[in-house]
Amino acid sequence: MHLLILAIFIPFIATALIPLIHKRIGSLHIGWLVLLVPLTLFVVFVIQIPAVANGETFIQTVDWIPSLGINFTAYLDGLSLIMALLITGMGSLVVLYSIYYLSSSDSFPHFYAYLLLFMGAMLGVVLSDNLLVLYIFWELTSISSFLLIAFWYHRKNSRYGAQKSLLITVFGGFGMLAGFLMLHSMTGTFSIRETIAVIGQYTDYALFYPAMFLVLLGAFTKSAQFPFHIWLPDAMEAPTPVSAYLHSATMVKAGLYLVARFIPIFGGTAAWFWTVTIVGLVTLFWGAFCAVRQTDLKALLAYSTISQLGLIMSLFGLGSAALHFGDGERGALYGLAIFAALFHMVNHSTFKGALFMVVGIIDHQVGTRDIRRLGGLSAFLPITFTFAVIGSFSMAGLPFLNGFLSKEMFFTATVDAVSLPAFGVSTWGLLIPVIAWIASVFTFIYSMIFVFRTFFGTPQLKKLDRKPIEPSIGMLISPAILCILIVSLFFVPNLLGDYLLKPAMSGIIPGISGAAPQISAWHGFNTELFMTLGIIVVGTFLFLTFRSWHKIYLLQPAGWNFTVLYNSFLKDLKRVANWLTTRYMTGHLPTYFAYIFVFFIVTSGGALIFTGALSIDLTADSPISFYEGMLVVVMAIAAIAILFAKSRLTAILLNGVLGFSIAIFFVLFRAPDLALTQLVIETVTTALFLLCFHFLPEWTKEDSPKWIKVRNAMIAIGAGVTVTLIGLTVNSGTLFDSISGYFENSYELTGGDNIVNAILGDFRAFDTMLESLVLFIAGLGVYTLIRLKLGKGADKDEHQ
């Protein structure tokens, strides 16, 4: 078994084991066992670092549906590795943290099962090379995120937030799927590597730009880019470890990963450059601007995450210009933006993860996250306070912390972009660093709000639920590790740069050599440094005078935001759907049959006639024997007699006559398997019918008006005629070669003489497997419908 593919599946296997193990371990917290999973995987990925840093890539394939080009291909290069390390590394810290965070009333097995499910899905996203496999894992992250956000499902807000995130991300995911299919129809491959290799020939295709925008739609919705950012603040209803993990460190980065992964495919075009850059910058500014007005610490962090994701996104946009120039000085210059993006992605995970954990501690120890009720906590929570300072100063981009380095590189990239001699940048190019700078001022302000409003000032102990004290040591370990990382990455950034960022960068822009720089903390008195100094000066001023200008937030009219739009859209959708559904869902079975049959007659019968497919050729048919003719007459009589049956029992028995006659037909046509199946099925269903009788009301024949009867008769006759015509046409059609030749050597291929079973079990086993699954689901449906009567199982909490 291949190690990489196994790595993807280990979390899933662990998920399946959780319910089994949970009951056996007694008082041991299941989180400790769960912790082993990400920790092991982290070590596995760490071991790969030297090889990947040397430029090696690993690829492992397991055939899945080779005939369609859908294979389970895991591909590890620098970019996948850095993401995998983030997923497993942050995963370990979050699991450790959650052990102390969750209260004993929470359902641990559910929580960890969802978390592991998510982890596996994320690993699948970043490691798979096949577009469709990537898509499956992509949607699985949406689903597991939905489950995690709605973890406290008795809260209305949790359910609302979960639904919102699911609707928006899955909407984007569908777009992305369409984009993938377009790519496939252009290039004929689902493999990302192969697409990169051949895409150059396809840029002129009509589908190139639609595919690009659809893929970007998926990435933007996932990474909460403007205007799809509205789901992220509502997702904060999830438990804080989840927020730290999904909504700052990993899942939202799936969109960034996708953009990075597709730069070699779509990058180098003006459309990509402008779309990604502008969306990124707008998100950066809007997120930072909105974060300042938040009064809930977690909401503040949510908007801050939106803003930082926008920052990274815009860097990927700017960096894509490198592909326009190719290998050379200019290519290397603009390639720096990609390096900065990757660097900031790692830094963001460290400081935002730490900050979420700090908020979790405050919430856990104090009972509120409302800034207006907090203050002066530095005296009570000195260690947490230290973490908060390190995290938010890094977020603000202040020196001696890793955020400073990547922020400076971000400024470098924006300043360099002004002089970009392509894509018509010269006209509006100056706006790029200006927007970046203004957004960074707001970033500085909300970082200061986070620290000073929470930890300084007079403590308002009366407003707090409990007396604040430092949490248990276990809760402090994870943020401590992250804070150590934040500081040490400032002093030894090139370790990260050489071993992880450079390989990741060459994974994105492979043709451009020499782009990867040495990161230096001191880079002289240049524009970037003055920009940072400006931020500190202006930011401090604005922070101190916040009360006198915060009224600008009231300028935005209350109804003017995308959440309102989203809500009203949902409401209208519901209204229209309700209206439409009540039109045709009458609850009356004959009506439904009428729909189905009319639809069938119109589409199939219509297609038959209007495409000229109708051709009946009876000359080559074998003669009808006496027995067959007899059977047909018997069946016809039985079928007509059902219409006039006076009791239910008669009707069922006559129906049985039909079924058994068909079985006899199978015997005549020498199909013993089918005959047997038909006989047994007929017996069992008749028995089932008889059992059901007991519970059914009296059989009363409906006395409908004459025109309805005539209408129904016409529909019935039409359906019968259509089926007959199709049957006769199919028999005389020779559009395709017969496939029966393929099954002739079934004995050599499967070792079985019985060709029916060879088809069911070997050639078309996928159908059979899914059919058994359908049967199983149907069985469960019957069981639950009968056993769990409505109203009994409904939870009171549901109606809160």
């Binding site: 078994m1 397991v62 055939d63 899945w64 549906i65 080779p66 389970f72 013993p672 398997d673 047997l676 199946t677 047994v680 099925i681 017996t683 069992v684 028995a687 089932l688 059992l691 059901c692 519970f695 499967t750 070792g751 079985g752 003489d753 019985n754 029916v756 079973n757 069911l760 079990g761 070997d762 086993a765 996928f766 059979t768 497997m769 058994s772 699954l773 049967l775 199983f776 149907a778 069985g779 469960l780 019957v782 069981y783 009968i786 056993r787």
Partner: protein, 140 residues
């Protein structure tokens, strides 16, 4: 049912055995002759149905302490696992293989992995059919 069903009970005692044997025969011989997991499963299920019809469900449940819901779930899992298993040996999903072995009593016998898959199907069918019938008949 309080009607006098001595004949039914007596006959079904014998018949159930015959049907079960026939069902198992169908299942085993499916590879080369008419039969297979689906039919075999159905026939076995019909034997159970006959038992439930001639005796009441409590009596049968005592004699047959099987959770048919779990049985059907087991069947689906087995079918899927047998599909996944070849992937560990480098084959495609759901690819089957067969070989000839010399077994003590049977002599040279053909063994095929498709039998495991078929067993999954059979268990699903048995579980689902019996479960539906039990649910309906136990509903008061």
């Amino acid at each position: 049912m309080n009607i006098n069903d001595v004949i039914l009970k007596t006959v079904s005692k014998a018949v159930v055995l015959i049907i079960l044997t026939f069902g198992i025969y169908l299942f085993v011989s499916g590879h080369n002759q008419p039969g297979g997991g689906f039919i075999g499963g159905l026939v076995i299920a019909s034997a159970f149905v006959l038992m439930f019809l001639s005796y009441d469900s409590e009596t049968v449940s005592e004699a047959l302490p099987i959770d048919f819901k779990k049985l059907s779930a087991l069947g689906v899992l087995l079918a899927m696992m047998s599909g996944v298993a070849p992937m560990f040996f480098g084959g495609a999903f759901l690819s089957q293989s067969f070989g000839y072995f010399d077994l003590p009593i049977f002599g040279k016998t053909e063994l095929a992995t498709v039998t495991i898959f078929e067993a999954g199907i059979a268990l699903t069918v048995i579980g689902v059919v019996v479960n539906i019938i039990l649910s309906i008949s136990e509903d008061e």
